[in-house]
C-alpha cells in the first residue's frame, strides 16, 4: 500500500510538472508559444536518443512529454468525475434514507435501474448525443472535437449510482446507532444529524471506495480514448497513445510499452491503495 501511495505521489508530480519541464528543456531558441506536448520536434520514431529519453512518436513529438500530459488528463478527468459522483451519490444516498417514502422509493429504484444499465452503453449514448448535437450546433463542435467535456459527462453519469447505493447502505446502518438516536432524542434536526453525526462517519470508507472507483474511471477514460471517442488527437491521453501505437505496431512495437506500463501500474496502484485504505478505515476489519 505504501509503495502504491508513493507511486501515486510521484505520478501526480510527474504529470503536473512534466509537460512544462519538457517544454522548457526542448524549447528551440527564438520560438515563443512552444509546447512540447503538441508540436513535432524531430524525425518520427526516433529511439535511443539522449534528447528524447522515451523516443518520439509518429509525428516526431516527444513521448515523455505526451506521457506526462496524458497522465494529467487522466487524473484531472478521474478526479472531476469522482468529485461529481461523490456529490450526487451523497445527495441521492441521503435522500434514499431520510426523504419521505414517496420520494425515496422512486429515487432508489431509479438508482437501481441506472446501476443495472451497462456503463459503456450509457457512456456511448451520451457521447453519441454530443456528437449528434454538434452536427446542428457549430458551437458544440469544438467541445466534441476536444473530447474532455463529453467524457466527463458520460463517466459522471455512470459513476454516481454505485456511490449512492453505498452511502444509502452506510447511512441506513448508522441511522439506528445509539449516538444518532441520542442526538435525535435531544432534539437535533434531521439536517443537523445528517451533516454533523452521520456524514462525518462516512469519509473514511468513501475515500477508500473513491480510490478504487478512480481506477475504474481512468480505465474507462482510456478505453474511450483508445476507441477514438474519448480525448481526441492532438491532445494526448494514454488510451489514445496506445491506439496510435497499435496502428504502428508492425514497424514500431516499442511505442506500446510506455502507455501500457503507465496505465497498468496506475490502475494497480489505485486499487491497491484503495483496498489498503478500506482495511484501515473499516472498523470491522480491525
Amino acid at each position: 500500500m505504501w509503495v502504491g501511495g508513493a507511486y501515486l505521489v510521484l505520478l501526480v508530480f510527474f504529470s503536473f510538472v512534466g509537460p512544462a519541464m519538457r517544454t522548457s528543456q526542448l524549447q528551440p531558441p527564438g520560438m515563443a508559444n512552444f509546447d512540447a506536448v503538441t508540436s513535432g520536434l524531430d524525425r518520427p520514431f526516433l529511439n535511443n536518443v539522449a534528447k528524447y529519453p522515451l523516443g518520439t512518436d509518429e509525428q516526431g513529438r516527444d513521448i515523455l512529454a505526451r506521457l506526462a500530459q496524458g497522465g494529467r488528463t487522466s487524473l484531472l478527468i478521474g478526479l472531476t468525475v469522482q468529485g461529481i459522483a461523490l456529490l450526487l451519490g451523497l445527495l441521492v444516498g441521503t435522500i434514499g434514507v431520510y426523504a419521505p417514502k414517496w420520494i425515496r422509493e422512486p429515487v432508489m429504484r431509479l438508482t437501481d435501474a441506472m446501476f443495472a444499465f451497462p456503463d459503456i452503453l450509457l457512456g456511448m449514448l451520451l457521447i453519441g448525443a454530443f456528437a449528434s448535437a454538434s452536427v446542428a450546433n457549430p458551437a458544440l463542435k469544438a467541445i466534441v472535437e476536444q473530447g474532455t467535456i463529453p467524457v466527463i459527462a458520460a463517466l459522471s453519469c455512470t459513476a454516481w449510482p454505485s456511490i449512492a447505493r453505498l452511502v444509502r447502505a452506510q447511512i441506513a446502518s448508522l441511522k439506528d446507532r445509539e449516538f444518532v438516536v441520542a442526538a435525535k432524542a435531544s432534539g437535533a434536526s434531521t439536517y443537523y444529524i445528517v451533516t454533523r453525526h452521520v456524514l462525518p462517519q462516512l469519509w473514511g470508507i468513501l475515500l477508500a471506495v473513491s480510490m478504487v472507483e478512480l481506477a475504474g474511471t481512468i480505465l474507462a477514460e482510456a478505453t474511450l480514448s483508445f476507441l477514438g471517442i474519448g480525448i481526441r488527437p492532438p491532445n494526448p491521453s494514454w488510451g489514445g497513445m496506445l491506439s496510435i501505437a497499435r496502428q504502428n505496431m508492425q514497424s514500431h512495437p516499442e511505442m506500446l510499452i510506455w502507455p501500457s506500463i503507465m496505465l497498468s501500474i496506475t490502475i494497480f496502484a489505485l486499487s491497491f491503495v484503495g483496498d489498503g485504505l478500506r482495511a484501515l478505515t473499516d472498523p470491522k476489519s480491525k
Binding site: D112, L125, V135, L140, F268
Partner: protein
C-alpha cells in the same frame, strides 16, 4: 411420554416454499421490465435533449429555418414528446429504429441483424471459456489453499483483473501475429484460414478478465465450503476425494459463481467494443463506435437499445435460475 408428542396433523406445517419463489421471481421480472422501460426512455431522451434533431440532419447545413420547420412537421417531430415516446416504443418493439443518417442510409434493423451474430458468437465463446477456466483454476486454488499452485493462480488472476483489455490485446497480437505469425491479426472478408483461427485471439482476450474474476470467486467460495461441517462428515465417512470435491464441495460452492457469470455480461459488452476495433471484426461494437464518431443517432439508439435489452434479459435469466439451482435460496424468504 408418547401422548405428549403431537400427531403429524398437529405439527404446524412449514409454509410451502413455492409461493415465495414465485413472488421473488415476479418481483425480479417486474424490475427487469422497469429497467427495460428505463433504458428505452434514456435512449429516447438522449436524442430529445440534444439540440438538433432528425429534421436538422436531413435538411443539411444549408437549409433555411423555414425549410427545416416544414420538414420537421412532415416527419411528425413537432408533436409533444409523450406521443413520440409511445410511438418510439411501438417502433422499437418491431426493431424499427429508422434509417441511418449517413453513408448508404440503410435501415438500422438490417445493420443490427447483420452484425449482432458475430458479436454474440464471440461473447458466447468467451463466457464459456471464462467459466471453464475460472471454475477449474478456482477449484484447484481452493483445494491447494496457500500452497504453491494457489499462489501461482492468484498471481495470474490478479494480473488478469488489473491489465486492461486494450493493453493485453496489442501485446498478444504482436506476439502471435507479428513475431510468430501463427494467428491472423485482423478480420478479412476472404478468410485464409478456418474461422476459429480468427476467433481464437479475440475470444481468449475477451475471456481473460472474466476468467480471473471467476477464479477468485470460485476460490473464495470453495475455501468457504471446504470448511463446512458436512465436508468433514463426508471425509470421515470415507468419501473418495474426487467425489468429495466435485459432488459435495463444488456443487455447493458454484452458486456465487453463477451470479458473477451473470454480472460479467456487462464487461463482455465493453470488451467486445474494444476487441472488435482492434481486430476489425465487423460486429455491433465496431459499428457502434463508427456511429458515435459520426453522431449517427438512429444507429446509436438501435445498438444501445438492443444490447441493453440483451443485457437485462440475460441478467434476469441468471437471477431467476439461481433460486431454482439452490434449495437454500428457494426456501429462504427472498
Amino acid at each position: 411420554m408418547e401422548q405428549a408428542l403431537p400427531t403429524p396433523s398437529e405439527v404446524p406445517r412449514a409454509p410451502s416454499a413455492l409461493p415465495n419463489v414465485l413472488k421473488a421471481i415476479g418481483l425480479r421480472l417486474l424490475f427487469g421490465i422497469f429497467s427495460l422501460v428505463f433504458i428505452s426512455f434514456i435512449v429516447f431522451l438522449a436524442d430529445e435533449l440534444a439540440p438538433g434533431d432528425a429534421a436538422d440532419v436531413r435538411a443539411g447545413e444549408k437549409a433555411t429555418v423555414a425549410q427545416v420547420e416544414k420538414l420537421r412537421e412532415s416527419m411528425g417531430l413537432n408533436r409533444p414528446w409523450p406521443v413520440r415516446y409511445v410511438e418510439f416504443l411501438g417502433k422499437a418493439a418491431k426493431l424499427d429504429f429508422g434509417h441511418s443518417y449517413y453513408g448508404t442510409q440503410r435501415e438500422v434493423r438490417d445493420l443490427i441483424l447483420e452484425k449482432l451474430p458475430i458479436t454474440s458468437l464471440i461473447a458466447f465463446c468467451a463466457i464459456i471459456l471464462a467459466a471453464a477456466v475460472g471454475i477449474g483454476l478456482g477449484t484447484i486454488a481452493g483445494i491447494y489453499r496457500t500452497r504453491p499452485p494457489d499462489t501461482a493462480i492468484l498471481i495470474i488472476s490478479t494480473l488478469g483483473v488489473t491489465v486492461p483489455t486494450f493493453v493485453l490485446a496489442p501485446i498478444l497480437v504482436y506476439y502471435f501475429s507479428t513475431v510468430r505469425d501463427i494467428l491472423p491479426a485482423t478480420w478479412e472478408t476472404e478468410m485464409r484460414a478456418p474461422m476459429y483461427m480468427y476467433l481464437l485471439l479475440p475470444v481468449t482476450i475477451l475471456a481473460a478478465r472474466p476468467s480471473a474474476l471467476l477464479t477468485r470467486v470460485t476460490r473464495a467460495s470453495m475455501i468457504d465450503t471446504l470448511q463446512q461441517e458436512f465436508i468433514r462428515t463426508a471425509i470421515a465417512k470415507g468419501v473418495p476425494t474426487n467425489r468429495l470435491i466435485f459432488k459435495h464441495a463444488l456443487r455447493n460452492a458454484i452458486l456465487p459463481v453463477v451470479t458473477v457469470i451473470g454480472t460479467s455480461f456487462g464487461f463482455l459488452l465493453t470488451g467486445s467494443f474494444v476487441l472488435e476495433s482492434v481486430f476489425t471484426i465487423p460486429g455491433i461494437g465496431k459499428d457502434g463506435i463508427e456511429a458515435i464518431v459520426m453522431g449517427d443517432m438512429p444507429r446509436i439508439q438501435g445498438i444501445v437499445l438492443v444490447t441493453g435489452f440483451l443485457f437485462v434479459v440475460l441478467n434476469l435469466v441468471v437471477d431467476v435460475l439461481l433460486p431454482l439451482l439452490d434449495p437454500r435460496i428457494r426456501e429462504a424468504q427472498v
